[in-house]
Symmetry: C2
C-alpha cells in the first residue's frame, strides 16, 4: 500500500484526486494536510485509507514532524496561494508563502534522505506574455512571469531543478492550466459565473447583470478530473526534474465561456465590466500543448468542455 | 544633495563605492545599513556625508522605519548571502534571506509611493550552464540557475520586473560577474589565494601547498573599482526594468589566476585539490559581454587584470 501526502487537501483538486484513487480499486493510504478542514467526508472511501491533519505548512516544525512520522512515498503538493489577483494586492505574502511552503517540504525530504517522489504543481501563468506565433505553449519556452504569483511559481520550478540536479531529489513539475469542474471555489471565474447564473435562473436575483473583468482574454481550460489523472500518471511515470503542461490544447475566451453557459441555462444576461477585476499586467492569450505528457504517459484530456460546463452548472443547481 | 541608501554596507563593494562618490567631488549623503559594523572609517570623507545604521534587513519594521525616515533618492542594494558554496549547505536560508531582504526594500518604497531608484545587484551565476557557442553571455539569454543562490538571484530579477511593470517601481538590474580588488573578504577565491601566497612568501607558512577546488573553471573577473563606477552610472543613466551585465569580457581559469599570482610573487606552490571545494553542479565557463551597458552609459572596464591582482596582493602584504 503506497502512502500519499496531499497538501492543500481541503481544495477541490484534492477531492477529485481521492475519487480518482478510489476508482482505481487499489488500496492506498492518503494523509491530507491543510490549514482548513476539508468540506468533504474523508471516511466514505472503500479502497483509500484517508486521514487528515490540520497544519500550517509555513510552520516548519509541523511539516518536519508530519513527514518524519508519515514517511510518504508520494507528495502531491497542491497547497498554494493560487490567486493572481490576490498576488497584486499582497505581492510579498503571495511570493513568500508559496515559496516557503514548498521549501519546507522538499528540504525535510532531503534532510531525512527519504525516497519520496514529489509532484510540484505549477501554473500556465509562468509563461507570461508570449508571441502568439509561438502558440500553443511548449515546456521549453522560457518563463516570463507577469505577476507576483507567477514569479513564485517559476521560482518553485527553478528550486525544484536545483534540488533534483544538486541533491538528487525526486521532483516532477507541472504547468497546470486553468481548471474547470464541480466543487471549485467561486473565487475562480467559471465557478463564480455558474453560481451567479444559476441564482439568476432560479429567480434569486432580480438584477440580470453579471460583473466581469477583461472578457476578451483567452484561456485553456482543462477538467479537474482529467488533471488529477495526469497527476497520478506523472507520479508513477514522469521523469524526475522534468516539467509537463497539463492542458486541453484548446483556447476559449471568457466571453465565449459566458455565452456557452447562458445557452445551457437558456438565459440572457448583460455583462458589465468592473475595472477592478482587470489585472495590471494580464496575458491576452494562453493555450498549451500536452504533447510531452501524452508521449511519456499516454495522458490526454477526456472530458469535453461543454460537458464540464454542464457539470459545474449542475453542481451549483444542487448547492444553492 | 542626493541621498543614497546602501545595503550590505560593511562589504568591500560599499567601501569602494564611497571612494568613487568622494572622488566625484560632489556633495552626497550616504546612509549605510548592515547587520555588521563597517571595518572602514565613515568619517574620513570630505564630500560624502556618511552615516551608518546597524539593522537586520530581514526585520521588516526596521527596514520600513529607515526608508520612511531617510527617504532615499537611490538605493544601492548590495546586501546578500552571496556565497554559492554556502547556498549548497543551507539552501533554504540562502534563498529565503536573499529574496526577503529584497522584498522588504522594494515593498516599502512601493507602499510609501517614494520616487526612488533601486539598483538590484544580481549575479553572472544566473546564466547557469550555457552552450559555449553562445559565449560571451548577453542579457537576453534565458536564465538557467544551477545553485540555490543563483535561483534567489533570478527570482529577485523576476520580482523586480513585476514591480516595474505592474506597480511602476523604478528598479535597474545587474548581473555582476566575479569581483576582484583590495579589501575583498578571503571567502572569495582570489583574495583567499592572495592571503595564503603572501603568508607563504613571508615565511609564515612552511607548507607550500595551496588547497583548491576545480581550477579548470573559467570566470570573468572585473575590478571592484570598475564595478562601483558602473553602479553609479546605472543609477543615473540606466533604463528602468532593464538588466545589465557588469563584466570584463575576458575569461580566465582559476589555474591561470594562480599562475599569474605566483609569478608576481616569484613563488612556486603546489595546488592540492580538495573535493569538498568542488561544487555539486558548477558552471564550466562564464564570460560576459558588456556591450549593453557600454552602449547606454559609456561604461567599460578600465583596470587591467594583472594590475588588479598586484593590488590585491599588495593589500595582503600590508595587512598580514
Amino acid at each position: 500500500m503506497k502512502k500519499y501526502l496531499i497538501t492543500g487537501f481541503s481544495g477541490f483538486v484534492s477531492f477529485h484526486f481521492l475519487n480518482y484513487l478510489e476508482n482505481l480499486h487499489t488500496a492506498n493510504s492518503v494523509l491530507g494536510v491543510d490549514i482548513n478542514e476539508p468540506a468533504f467526508n474523508i471516511n466514505e472511501y472503500k479502497y483509500v485509507t484517508c486521514s487528515f491533519n490540520k497544519i500550517n505548512l509555513l510552520n516548519k516544525e509541523q511539516v518536519d514532524k508530519i513527514i518524519c512520522d508519515y514517511q510518504p512515498d508520494y507528495i502531491l503538493h497542491l497547497a498554494s496561494c493560487s490567486s493572481v489577483a490576490y498576488s497584486w494586492i499582497n505581492p510579498v505574502e503571495s511570493f513568500v508563502n508559496n515559496t516557503n511552503i514548498f521549501l519546507n517540504l522538499v528540504e525535510q525530504i532531503r534532510v531525512l534522505g527519504l525516497k519520496c517522489r514529489i509532484l510540484s504543481v505549477g501554473s500556465s501563468e509562468e509563461y507570461g506574455k508570449v508571441n502568439p506565433a509561438l502558440l500553443p505553449l511548449h515546456e521549453d519556452l522560457s518563463a516570463n512571469p507577469l505577476s507576483p504569483y507567477a514569479v513564485a511559481r517559476v521560482s518553485q520550478e527553478m528550486l525544484s531543478k536545483v534540488y533534483c540536479n544538486g541533491f538528487g531529489s525526486d521532483i516532477i513539475l507541472t504547468r497546470s492550466f486553468n481548471h474547470i469542474g464541480p466543487h471549485q471555489s467561486e473565487v475562480f471565474v467559471i465557478s463564480s459565473f455558474a453560481k451567479k447564473l444559476v441564482a439568476i435562473k432560479h429567480g434569486h436575483l432580480h438584477n440580470k447583470q453579471i460583473t466581469v473583468g477583461n472578457i476578451n482574454i483567452v484561456r485553456d481550460f482543462v477538467d479537474v478530473r482529467d488533471v488529477v489523472k495526469a497527476y497520478d500518471l506523472l507520479l508513477h511515470r514522469g521523469t524526475k526534474g522534468e516539467v509537463y503542461n497539463i492542458c486541453s490544447g484548446v483556447g476559449i475566451s471568457i466571453k465565449q465561456v459566458l455565452e456557452q453557459m447562458t445557452a445551457i441555462l437558456n438565459l440572457k444576461v448583460e455583462p458589465v465590466i468592473d475595472e477592478n477585476l482587470v489585472r495590471p499586467a494580464d496575458n491576452e492569450i494562453i493555450i498549451g500543448s500536452y504533447d510531452k505528457i501524452h508521449k511519456e504517459t499516454g495522458w490526454e484530456p477526456g472530458i469535453k468542455f461543454n460537458d464540464s460546463l454542464a457539470d459545474v452548472i449542475n453542481y451549483w443547481v444542487n448547492k444553492i
